[in-house]
Symmetry: C2
Subunit: 277 residues, 2 copies
């Protein structure tokens, strides 16, 4: 399938250049060559070779995944892998069913971005899945950026990747992060060294754009934002405990009492630090 937005961005790049252009297919990565187009007039940093690994698991929240995926898929030259335990379709908590592009075993070993979505029950199960934790711990140890949305940070934490890092999560689960050795921060997107974590579900759009600006530049991120017409106008002001009515906040918080307890149980004990560390 043709990645239309990348074609759009190529057009944009062309508009910035002086003359017709040909893609250097090799440099754009085998997955996304556009034969017959010269991209030599691109701004030097507008194309890359990133390998991006985005984890899929049963019961994850589709929107946690698709917000950042929309943004990452705009990156000219990058290859975005949708990675699951097997190639079987993954059923999300909303019943959206996504087909992986590769498996944990076949995912490239060196990733520029590792991304983990949150979910409901499925995240608690993933936090106790040795195969998933080993994958995250391995790829995360070398990835240039380790990222998550919502309670995906609890899963990163379970894999030992947030110890000593500032991080965020869904607002109602921030109190679980210290069990992973993380320092919870109530913010939309938290960036500490190479860890970038987003708040609940919809924060993935904000996180995705922030990552584009890091990998390319602000102009690239803004172009993608305008293409996605990301100028949100929520019809109500209930998206945060700071703005929602006390009744709605209390209601939603009450829904998380059991979830938080179970997330605490699911979080593996922190291994003792090596004495040399």
């Amino acid at each position: 399938m043709k990645p239309d937005r990348r074609d759009f961005l190529r057009t944009a790049a062309s508009a910035l250049g002086a003359s017709p252009w040909l893609v250097r297919g090799q440099e754009l990565g085998a997955a996304n060559p556009v034969p017959g187009q010269d991209m030599s007039n691109l701004p030097a940093n507008w194309t890359g070779h990133e390998q991006i690994g985005m984890l899929l698991y049963p019961g994850m929240t589709a929107l946690d995944f698709v917000g950042p995926q929309h943004m990452f898929a705009s990156l000219m030259g990058a290859t975005v892998h949708h990675v699951a335990k097997t190639l079987d379709p993954v059923v999300c908590e909303s019943n959206l069913t996504i087909v992986p592009t590769t498996t944990l075993a076949d995912c490239p070993r060196e990733l520029d971005i590792l991304f983990v979505p949150g979910g409901g029950e499925g995240t608690l199960e993933a936090m106790q899945d040795r195969q998933i934790l080993d994958f995250l711990s391995d790829r995360g140890s070398r990835a240039k950026l380790v990222t998550s949305v919502c309670v995906g940070s609890l899963l990163l934490g379970a894999a030992g990747l947030l110890r000593g890092y500032k991080a965020t999560s869904h607002w109602a689960t921030l109190s679980v992060l210290p069990l992973a050795g993380a320092h919870p921060v109530e913010a939309r997107v938290v960036h500490d060294r190479n860890r970038i974590t987003g708040a609940g579900v919809s924060a993935g759009l904000d996180l995705g754009l922030s990552v584009l600006a890091l990998l390319r530049d602000q102009n690239y991120a803004e172009t993608t934002q305008l293409l996605a017409e990301y100028s949100p106008e929520p019809p109500f002001q209930a998206g945060s405990p700071r703005t929602a009515s006390p009744a709605v906040t209390a209601l939603v918080d009450s829904m998380f009492v059991t979830y938080r307890k179970r997330a605490r149980s699911a979080m593996p004990a922190l291994p003792k630090r090596k004495s040399a560390a």
Copy 2:
């Protein structure tokens, strides 16, 4: 897969009620019974039997679809169908691959909501696909709500469903709507009688919440919004031509010159109105 958020909402409903509750499985629709739970304490309008048909087609934009799908999937008792020409996985323009739950032929004939996402090249192809247009025209003629995001409105227009209606679309394609007999409105979500159209891509989240409030009530929509932590903080102010820099706007607009031309060509001629109309 268990729809966790609906469980959350059931908990919320329970919290509003006085005592333990049992789902009346039949009333919740065969797809989502929760055996052993009594929902008799729910607010009368917090559960429904909606049949929701969301169109999938190759080259559509995944985020156009998943924003509203996240919200619609929160509706207790509703059944959300992901409808495509066949049951084969549908490859979106970002390469996200979604498995349909039903086909155009098997989709319930009476829908409470018909939803159409936008896309790139794929939308232009769908606008010329008789099978898709016939499906939309048929289901849309009886659906309680006819909805779209981004250039999904051009597809609704091609199916003859926007004639005489105010509607919106991706900002760069508003000028195409009059060819479908629609009156373009530059707004995030446009509601004219039973047509609800959203602006580009990310507007689906705003549209989805608006629809929840219509089908249930504001409290229900706000609860869903807080669960999704939909309190957006875009890192840049480039999501609309009103806020983006003139250079970025000109760039993105230039990318749409060809698309607009092709969308005009793809739009079927308006049939003459019947003399009785």
